[in-house]
Amino acid sequence: MIELEGLTKRYGEKVAVNNLSFTVRPGIVTGFLGPNGAGKSTTMRMILGLDHPTAGSVRIDGKHYHQLKEPLTYIGALLEAKAWHGGRTAYNHLLCLAQSNGIARSRVREVLETVGLTAVARKKTKGFSMGMGQRLGIAAALLGDPRILMFDEPVNGLDPEGIHWIRTLMKSLAAQGRTVFVSSHLMSEMALTAEHLVVIGQGRLLADTSMADFIARNSRSYVRVRSPQRERMLDVLHQAGIVAVESGDGVLEVDGGKAELVGELAARHGLTLHELSPQQASLEEAFMQLTAESVEYHAHSETSPPPPQQQWGDGWKRG
């Protein structure tokens, strides 16, 4: 169990993490979601005692990280890729970590086997591909057979087979009763692995909810209706007790999956339709909406499509 309480980190004027409080519980995979620069990695570094919080505290099973005497058997972490000396072999890298925590040599071979790096165990790590690097980082995290596992962007650089493997691994680790805390900036990835979701943006907590709740609340389905007789269409829908929202460009959006109903109503009243299409707002869109206000690095590009259901430029007009 990881407990954050009012965790804050300030770098000079800039607030990287702002009063974060949440709990990561054992037995499930908890997704830690946020756009780039939201403070995910800073939060993880504070959990691991690498960065000192400006305010607040974080406890691991009730203890501060520096109070853990044999931390690798408590919490295993995959930080950013390739946080090691490239001239050292994979085996020696894991060996020096094992020794610092009094873990037996045999365990090094076991974790190498688990992540599938046995064949390159005696090779220098600087020749490793991104995917092999991630696997070595995961091997280091598993070394102490810890109760808590933290992965920072684990699927980065992995091939489809590797991604499938890490998903299965995380789920089985959680099923054994471990606490699994995974950061990502991809909602779609989290939707497949996480049971619980913590979303942050610009260092602030935006959501702390179960995945099921998040999906139920955010996967809105609606029907897009386009007609040259927009006013009459609105009247007809209104009379039928159907709520329609104008979303600009003469497009009407009707909540719920009622495409047939809308089509029949239009036919009955002799209305021309140019478009009648059922739509599903994806979780990715829901996530983007949630974090739109707090995205740090906007790409101001003409070609990037505006997020749906939101006026493009809302943010800067108000700001």
Binding site: M1, P26, G27, R45, L48, G49, L50, D51, H52, D61, G62, H66, L68, K69, E70, P71, L72, T73, A77, L79, E80, K82, A83, W84, H85, G86, G87, R88, T89, N92, L95, C96, L97, Q99, S100, N101, G102, I103, A104, R105, S106, R107, E110, T114, A140, L142, G144, D145, P146, R147, I148, L169, K171, S172, L173, A175, Q176, G177, R178, T179
Partner: protein, 303 residues
Amino acid sequence: MSSPQPQMPQAAPSWEAAPGAAHPASGAAHPAPGSPYPGYTSPIPVVRTHLGHAIASEWTKIRSVRSTMWTLGVFVLLVVGIGLLTGVVVSSSSSDLAGENALSLGFFGLLLGSMCIITLGVLTTASEYGTGMIRTTMVACPSRGRVLAAKAIVFFLVAFVVTLVSSSVVAFLHVAMLADNGAKDPTGGEWLKGTVGIALYIALLGLLSLVVGSIIRHSAGAITIMIGTVLAPLVIALFMFSESLEAVRDALFEYSIPNQLSVFYANSLSQSGPSGWDPLWIILGVTAVAFGGAFALLEKRDV
């Protein structure tokens, strides 16, 4: 160096186990006895860690990178090679050493070789910041002081042993080669200073570099600072022509590291200044102060 590791049962936890297939020793999601925090309990026995574990880890680190072999290899080559060369030149030129002891010829090789020890010392700490390894290290051992202490102990012993062996080899060679050139037989005290003394001094100089590397966190920067520390006072002193600066010039000269090094061979370039075992106490003091600073900074700064 073997690490103090208890034998552990070979029963491996099965990672690929299907969800729910619990270990014999630990039911899935069973709380640890007496713990208010539920969760997984590993079948692997937990060992209380201490400085010994960190030392074993640092020993693995220092012996498993090529830069260690390179710097120490070049060091031995310089010390023994230059020592042999000066020995051959002096003995064949039939020059008279006029009662000087033969050990003093070892000075040149060690002065150049010290650059290698400085480099290795800096790399021991600073290279971890360059590669990002430091974060992995500090996660594995949250006691930052213990990490620095383990690095210092392992590096100091390696540097001391290698310097002691190389300088002793050169000393024996010189005494044997120059017996016919009027060289005085070194006394016991001179032997001690020319081998153990100089090895302690060079190892401490390396340790100071390690500490500077930990403070600067940048390999090239720290190496530059250390080489500057060794050479700058002597070079600056050379350009102090003005008489009003004579006192400063003499002090720079006498306390420059090359001159302090030569004190161990009793052929100091100046008559005043440090003598006997003074250089050892000076560098011990400086290193201790720097160590204190590095400890404090390590605790205070983010990794």
